[in-house]
Symmetry: C2
Subunit: 211 residues, 2 copies
DNA sequence: TCATTTATTGGCACCATCTGCCATTAAGCG
DNA sequence: CGCTTAATGGCAGATGGTGCCAATAAATGA
């Protein structure tokens, strides 16, 4: 009978807000990624990351159940951005056109971290453990994509056709992102990003040539 | 000056043949997968797998550097089969037609294990750790695919367009395979497999509708 | 058959990963 | 300040995984 979130005469210390927690995770992840890049994943211990982040090892493991998950906060920034673009895709518009229109400004908004994000993507190309975490993350994003696409197509997100399209789109994005990460190893320019956008666009076209 | 494999007055115990090693790996992997299915990955220790396989724990770790890799031998059977089909794809033929023609007999050839393979795929849908291993494996297969496609297109395998097509194809195959694995949880029939083939075919068509 | 050579195996020590449990501290509220 | 609840830290312990070395297996040559 009672509503889900009713009857809450909250007492005691309140749980930390979600954003607070995300910020903490992000902060730790920065330290971790730096260490990963400097000495490799295997050579970086949880203890080391915890120490660098100024928390106890125990709480570090609470924030990141596996040490490879340290790349998640940065990487989700990227996939979330793409999902947002797709979510804003108007029905009557071609995807490629929408990308050209909407992608660039969004990247500008998140550009504070874009350098870091791309360096993490590069890391995942060398470090197997990180790559695995990356791929898992992408699959989560694929689910989100399927959700959006399903709604657009008026079908359930679990529908095979929907999933196929989501997976294909995700795959295109993966290849393009890997490529731009490699290309931008010597610093990110506006050109780099526009190149990325164009690359996704042409890659989508290339797909159609395959059928 | 001398040839690669010349001047070999081999002495001492010879290394085991590659097939021998693969067979051993496959054998261990069967035990491991059974245990994974019965009690979950986390609850299955390396010691347990080793014991079930009749080898010492130490050699188990030598065969499988991480315990999740135990799924590889079975799963590679599947992706290798698909790669072989693509490799045999004649230039002048449509991919879909080739699939319809070549896919079915090949599955028949490897059908001894097909039940086991599909059950492993199902496992990867529930066990995060196995899923990660699966995705890594698929990416290796994607490289092989890119190799084949690159040759067909007269381009290097590293070419972005080639990689995009390989990734998209791989993605389609992934979704279809996940789906057929789910569908075939109650036993595999010829119908199931033909359904899989058709599903890949139509999925490839669907892709083109997305552009 | 025996010595020699090389590859695999197993045993052991050891560090890292991660978890459960509990005491301590922090943050809100009357 | 007491009361309550959440977060943290410390510690023990199981598991994952590696390096090292001794033991054994499989070949060859004398």
């Amino acid at each position: 009978m009672t509503d889900v979130a009713t009857e809450k005469p909250r007492r005691g210390r309140p749980p930390v807000s979600d954003e607070q927690r995300q910020r903490q995770r992000l902060d730790i992840s920065r330290h971790a990624v730096r260490l990963f890049a400097e000495q490799g994943v295997a050579a970086t211990s949880g203890e080391q990351i915890a120490q660098a982040s100024g928390v106890s090892e125990r709480t570090f493991w609470r924030y990141f159940p596996q040490k490879e998950s340290c790349v998640e906060p940065l990487l989700t920034k990227m996939v979330d951005a793409f999902c947002a673009v797709v979510r804003a895709w108007p029905r009557e518009m071609e995807l490629i056109d929408h990308l050209r229109e909407a992608y660039s400004p969004l990247l500008g908004a998140a550009s504070e971290d874009i350098e870091a994000v791309l360096s993490v993507v590069r890391l995942t190309q060398e470090e197997r453990a990180l790559r695995a975490a990356y791929l898992m993350l992408r699959e989560r994003a694929e689910d989100a994509l399927a959700e959006v696409l399903g709604e657009r197509m008026g079908r359930p997100a679990g529908d095979v056709e929907v999933r196929v399209q989501a997976a294909a789109m995700s795959a295109v994005l993966k290849v393009s992102t890997d490529d731009v990460a490699r290309a931008a190893s010597g610093g990110v320019t506006t050109e780099t990003l526009e190149g990325h956008r164009e690359q996704i666009a042409t890659a989508l076209r290339d797909l159609s040539r395959m059928l």
